[in-house]
């Protein structure tokens, strides 16, 4: 279980995260909802040691989690909103490079892992194409495959469907479900209701740097009015 307690973050004088706390169990999908600028992406960036923070306590399976080390021991991985692939490298090298250079796998091991993932995500034919030349959906899948290759326990996805059409959104939802089924913790930042509808997830609505309402997709979609703020949020986006 991942526990985040009293997380506070400011940019200059503006507080973007105000003492937020939450828990996510293994195998669970947590979706952070909220308008742009409420702190969703900042939260994911802090968890991936891309931002500093003023205050906060992090635990994984009741053990303190040192965010300064999580990138090196691959506890957490992130799929960025704009994928942040190494566009100048062939598709397969986007996966093998971190495996070889960071996890010290042999080239043969790295290629084997990459091939399995490329096959799983239907990218085997594109393995020698430069990552920058892939379509939006292919880039999304490659970014997920690159993160999964390192086998992190927690995977963050920042606006994973913002550039995808409804068909690809469904495919991404299925990919996410499969990943979560392997007892991983999935943390998603989104305001895409079509993605939320396809997932069985915990919902955290953020407003003004705080978690203002929580629910889960099953209960929410059975009775949306029971979560007025989340309902209002989705209504605004329709």
């Amino acid at each position: 279980m991942l526990q985040v307690k009293c997380l506070t973050k400011s940019f200059k004088n503006k507080k973007v995260l105000k003492n937020i706390s939450f828990e996510i169990k293994k195998g669970q999908i947590a979706i952070f909802l909220g308008d742009s600028g409420v702190g969703k992406s900042t939260l994911l960036r802090i968890l991936n040691d891309l931002e500093t923070y003023e205050k906060g306590y992090f635990y994984l399976d009741n053990m303190p989690l040192n965010l300064k080390k999580i990138n090196n021991d691959h506890t957490i991985g992130i799929v960025f909103q704009h994928f942040n692939l190494f566009d100048f490298l062939p598709t397969y090298k986007n996966i093998t490079l971190p495996l070889i250079k960071s996890q010290k796998k042999t080239k043969a091991e790295a290629i084997s892992i990459a091939n399995n993932l490329l096959k799983k995500y239907n990218l085997l034919q594109e393995q020698n194409i430069l990552a920058g030349k892939l379509s939006g959906g292919q880039k999304q899948r490659l970014a997920l495959a690159r993160t999964l290759a390192l086998n992190p326990q927690i995977i963050c996805l920042d606006e994973p469907t913002s550039a995808l059409d409804p068909k690809l959104t469904l495919q991404t939802a299925n990919d996410i479900k499969q990943v979560a089924a392997k007892n991983r913790i999935i943390i998603i930042s989104t305001h895409d209701i079509s993605l939320v509808k396809h997932l069985n997830a915990q919902l955290f609505l953020m407003q003004d740097g705080k978690i203002v309402e929580t629910s889960d997709t099953k209960n929410y979609f059975l009775n949306p009015e029971s979560n007025p703020l989340i309902h209002q949020f989705f209504s605004d986006f329709k």
Binding site: N71, H74, F80, F86, S102, Q103, L130, T147
Partner: protein, 219 residues
């Protein structure tokens, strides 16, 4: 006006001079590129002291004439009982000078690499040296090829300054032939054409390399 006989008779000497010129250019470029790359990497360091040292080095090297830098190494090293051949002195001085310019070329290239790629590298557990070597510099080198071509042309032209400390490179050979024959026009025209040939080859090579990289990227 043009003494063809003099030019033909001078060709062996000019050829020897050209070889020394090429030697200086190759050594200087071999110093300038890796040292410039190292400086550009160190420049990204968050250490204030390191940044300050790099800044001072680049400012001094870019702000003083190459000729003075050649003199500086040529005349001051013997005071510390260090003896280096004049050809090597010129190569080192021109190479050090080039490194400051190369570092600035690479610095602009590094700044142009999307921050997202650097962040992705960090989250994938790649350390800063791997990120530089495998992610940033390969992209920067590709986009910097035209600027490196210009730098190589500058080095070719700067190599003529080695004549001041007695290196028998192309300009010095020409100078000796001119003082012996008093025919400045024929001999200066000859070496101008040789320099032009060298710089044109570089320009053309860079153009072809750039086109090939564009084709590779497109395919």
């Amino acid at each position: 006006m043009i003494d063809i006989h003099l030019i033909i008779n001078s060709l062996p000497n000019l050829l020897n001079g050209s070889l020394i010129t090429l030697k200086i250019v190759i050594v200087a470029f071999s110093i300038g590129i890796p040292l410039g790359a190292l400086i550009s990497i160190l420049e990204t360091s968050k250490s204030f002291i390191l940044s300050a040292i790099i800044n001072i080095y680049v400012t001094i090297v870019r702000g003083t004439p190459v000729l003075i830098q050649i003199f500086f190494i040529y005349y001051t090293l013997p005071q510390f009982n260090i003896s280096i051949q004049p050809t090597l002195v010129a190569s080192i001085a021109i190479g050090l000078n080039s490194s400051a310019y190369v570092s600035q070329i690479l610095k602009s290239g590094i700044n142009a690499v999307p921050l997202g790629q650097i962040e992705a590298a960090k989250t994938l557990g790649l350390n800063i040296f791997v990120t530089m070597k495998d992610i940033i510099l390969p992209q920067v080198f590709k986009t910097s090829i035209p600027s490196f071509g210009n730098e190589l042309i500058t080095i070719i032209k700067d190599s003529s300054l080695a004549s001041i400390i007695g290196v028998m490179e192309l300009s010095k050979e020409a100078s000796i032939i001119r003082s012996r024959t008093y025919d400045a026009f024929s001999i200066l025209l000859s070496i101008s054409l040789i320099y032009l040939l060298l710089t044109t080859i570089v320009s053309y090579g860079v153009k072809i390399l750039n086109q090939r990289l564009k084709i590779n990227a497109a395919s």
